[in-house]
């Protein structure tokens, strides 16, 4: 990690795309970096949180993405460079301030990296954030590999500073999580402190100033649209080589981001005589460059992930300039409209029009799936077990309005503890709707980090508007799903320094509700508490607090099954479903995985599971 900071110009490192982004920020001399963790962007923050103190920059895990953008915007308005990064849906949260930052502009460079997630490896949707630069009127760069993440991000800081406008970098999961050789550049001296020069006519967006600033914004983008055509990040490849221009050709390809890589590999592997225009600087769209490329072609393939954005730009160029080029993309059905691409998908799509030898496919076999699940010793499993027991004993059914985090895995059987989920914080907001629109009982599940991120406004809404449901805060003392980042409830900050910890139950109390705090690993007490809360006729909050097992090194002694007692009722397997317990001719505990959490001991109706005496810890 420290190597990333200390590497000197010309060194070649084997970097993850996200690590390259962190290095770019250091090389660009940023003073402030802010984020809310979200896959596939998380490792940028993980790296910066470790190297920030040594690099002399300020880094924070902000409460949510909107705050992160505001932190970065104000820093850049004060004349120091700032970097903010988030997953694609995080930009939705940040968008309110992002769009306005485009109006006010910045003084020093400000870059926002949006890590999109085509195919939804770990997200609730696969929205294409290349719409945002068009929506907010800010420039967009789309790197295709870690080296380009470094180069493009550094350029983005200069561009931002020159035009006093935030710049967006859009990566995708495959680019953020690609590892390859990166030749690093020189690090810059950091200007850590700036000075905010008051200019209310620019920085206070009321209608009269906003009108002026929008005019200025449009002028800035017009100016930038005159430089994109000459950008070195827009390149033409032919027969595996970079060329400056092309001869007339029956076919051509325009591609960006990860999709370019697959198109490039396909064309080279099959030795197809097709020129590829690789676009790296994609908004404002390089119209003149694309026009010149199109003029040489009869037909063009537009290859992009996820929405037909470049395709529509190309169609408008063709319409405007009366070109005779057939366009094959998503709109005419040549390429899929959803999910990420790969070489096979692009090959199969292009083969609809051009003949070349494909890959003989081996039929896929039907094999058992392997869904992800809670780790052994995970407190979420205990919460869901107890909740289902409480409901069973009360003989009631509820709507589980859940939220975003590891605990969303409660959707899997046997927990079946997820019925509705939209976005961060929606567990509580949606429960407000269910409570008024139905007669059903509702339980909201929300994690600790998610509570701070977006759970507080809907909590206030629930109290003030007299909604009636149960909120369970699954407080595992970390932002677990993204790799264990801190949040405002913990006594340390994003750079490892001491920080005041904010109490969830005190926030709840300030809203007028006395929260019950339980240790979810105590099953009996948890069931009792849930039953009590479920039968009350008002809003209730239970905080189930126990640390994530990935953040705790200590293990309990593993448990074992007493076969003289076990009657194979399988409660431990069919209801608790801990991956450390399996049925293989008998109930067996796999010592490699058992964390000695003792939940199965409490769950066993026959008391047949016991701590191994004398076992090593």
């Amino acid at each position: 990690m420290i190597q990333l900071l200390e590497a000197s110009e010309g060194d070649e490192l084997f970097l993850l795309g996200n690590e390259a982004a962190a290095r770019a920020a250091i090389e660009s001399g940023i003073a402030v970096a802010s984020t809310y963790p979200g896959t596939p962007s998380s490792e940028i923050g993980d790296v910066l949180s470790k190297i920030a103190p040594k690099a002399g920059i300020y880094f924070e895990f902000s409460t949510n993405e909107k705050v992160a953008v505001e932190v970065a915007a104000a820093a850049a308005a004060s004349g120091v460079r700032s970097f903010t990064f988030m997953k694609h849906v995080g930009v939705n949260v940040a968008s309110d301030s992002l769009v306005s930052t485009a109006y006010t502009g910045v003084e020093a460079g400000m870059v926002l990296l949006s890590a999109d997630d085509p195919s939804m490896f770990s997200s609730q949707n696969e929205q294409d954030n290349r719409h945002y630069p068009r929506f907010a009127n800010i420039p967009l760069l789309e790197p295709s590999n870690p080296q380009e993440i470094l180069d493009f991000t550094k350029y983005a800081f200069n561009l931002s500073e020159k035009f006093k406008l935030p710049v967006m970098i859009r990566t995708t999961t495959r680019i953020s999580h690609m590892r390859s050789k990166v030749r690093v550049g020189e690090t810059q001296k950091i200007k850590r402190r700036g000075q905010f020069k008051k200019d209310p006519g620019r920085f206070v967006l009321v209608p009269s100033t906003a009108r002026t600033m929008h005019k200025k914004l449009v002028k800035k983008i017009d100016k930038i649209s005159r430089i994109v055509d000459k950008s070195p990040f827009n390149q033409i490849y032919y027969k595996g080589r970079r060329v400056s221009k092309i001869e007339d050709s029956a076919y051509g390809i325009i591609a960006s981001g990860g999709a370019f890589n697959y198109a490039y590999d396909l064309v080279n592997e099959k030795e197809l005589p097709i020129p590829i225009l690789k676009l790296g600087f994609t908004y404002p769209f390089p119209e003149r460059l694309v026009h010149r490329f199109l003029e040489c072609l009869d037909e063009v393939f537009i290859i992009e992930e996820v929405d037909p954005i470049m395709e529509k730009e190309v169609l408008s160029i063709i319409g405007e300039r009366n070109l005779k080029v057939d366009v094959h993309g998503k709109l005419d059905g040549t390429f899929p409209k959803i999910y990420e691409y790969n070489q096979d998908i692009i090959g199969d799509s292009i083969r609809k029009l051009i003949r070349f030898r494909g890959q003989g496919k081996i039929p896929e076999m039907r094999l058992p799936e392997r869904p992800p699940t809670f780790c052994p010793g995970c407190p979420h499993r205990a919460v869901y077990y107890s909740m289902n027991k409480a409901l069973e004993e009360l003989d009631i059914e509820v709507i589980f309005s859940t939220d975003i985090g590891c605990y969303t895995l409660g959707i899997e059987s046997p927990y079946n503890a997820a019925d509705y989920l939209l976005s961060m914080g929606s567990s509580i907001g949606a429960a407000c709707g269910f409570s008024k629109a139905t007669e059903q009982k509702i339980v909201s599940f929300i994690g600790d980090s998610t509570f701070f991120h977006a759970g507080i406004p809907p909590l206030l809404n629930a109290v003030h508007n007299k909604h009636d449901f149960l909120i369970v805060v699954l407080d595992n003392r970390t932002t677990a799903m993204t790799g264990g980042q801190p949040h405002p409830g913990l006594p340390f900050d994003g750079m490892g320094g001491e920080a005041p910890a904010i109490s969830i139950e005190k926030i709840v109390e300030a809203a007028g509700i006395k929260a019950k705090v339980i240790n979810p690993m105590n099953i009996k007490k948890s069931i009792e508490t849930f039953k009590e809360a479920l039968t009350a006729d008002s809003l209730n909050v239970v905080v189930a607090r126990y640390p994530c097992q990935l953040s705790v090194k200590a293990r309990g002694k593993p448990v074992k099954v007493d076969y003289d007692i076990c009657n194979e009722c399988l409660e431990c397997i069919s209801k608790l479903a801990c991956p450390a317990i399996r049925y293989d001719e008998a109930v067996k505990v796999d010592e490699r995985y058992c964390r000695g959490c003792t939940v199965c001991i409490q769950v066993c109706p026959e008391n047949a599971i016991k701590i191994q005496r004398g076992a090593s810890q």
């Binding site: 070649e12 084997f14 993850l16 081996i362």
Partner: protein, 195 residues
């Protein structure tokens, strides 16, 4: 024209799959080869399927196309079978035979390991199936299983990175305290296959 030597590494979250890929990739880079690899982070890690794809050569995309993988390192037998469509005919297959049944299935429904190996042999005459977990235990630590697999892979015909470069990469990319055990695991894997 095939652009790269493609290695598909697969198994279950927590088996050290990404680290094995990183060690190969770093070693390839140090040997002056071009290399790209993919990693899967986030939700997939919680006991789900994990794969990493290492492409040594000119390829730019990190996803190995169907029928391209020259070598599969499968840390779990079911996951080997799941990925066969990635393999070219007669690819090298190094597979750990210790099954890890998915948490939500009855182990009795898990396909028989012998049957899995038989299926793999239909695709390739170069299947090396062995119990890498036991070898790792013999080497001194159960978590060194990924280095047993790496050692075995390094001994397969056509592996593009030298044994020395891999050992250097292990020294660079593994915690120094565990290097000795890991090196032993690597050697046992290598020699087990070399014989």
């Amino acid at each position: 024209m095939k652009l790269s030597y493609d290695i598909y590494i697969c198994g279950v979250g927590g088996q050290g799959i990404i680290k094995a890929g990183e060690i190969i990739g770093w070693a390839a880079m140090k040997e002056g080869l071009d290399v790209v690899m993919s990693e899967i982070h986030g939700m997939a890690q919680r006991g789900g399927v994990v794969s990493t794809e290492v492409r040594i050569g000119e390829a730019r995309g990190t996803i190995i196309p169907c029928g391209h993988a020259d070598l599969m390192m499968a840390f779990e037998p079911l996951e080997a079978l799941r990925a066969v469509s990635k393999l070219r005919r007669d690819a090298q297959i190094v597979v750990n035979v210790t099954p890890l049944p998915p948490f939500n299935m009855n182990p009795r429904e898990y396909p028989q390991v012998d049957r899995i190996i038989w299926e793999l042999r239909r695709f390739s005459g170069n299947v090396y199936a062995f119990d890498a977990d036991t070898v790792a235990l013999d080497a001194g630590h159960p978590l060194s299983m990924n280095m047993v697999m790496l050692g075995a892979a390094a001994a397969t015909a056509g592996f593009p990175v030298s044994r020395d470069a891999l050992v250097d990469s292990m020294r660079e990319n593994l915690p120094s305290g565990l290097f000795k055990v890991n090196l032993k695991a690597f050697k046992m894997g290598f020699e087990g296959l070399d014989r």
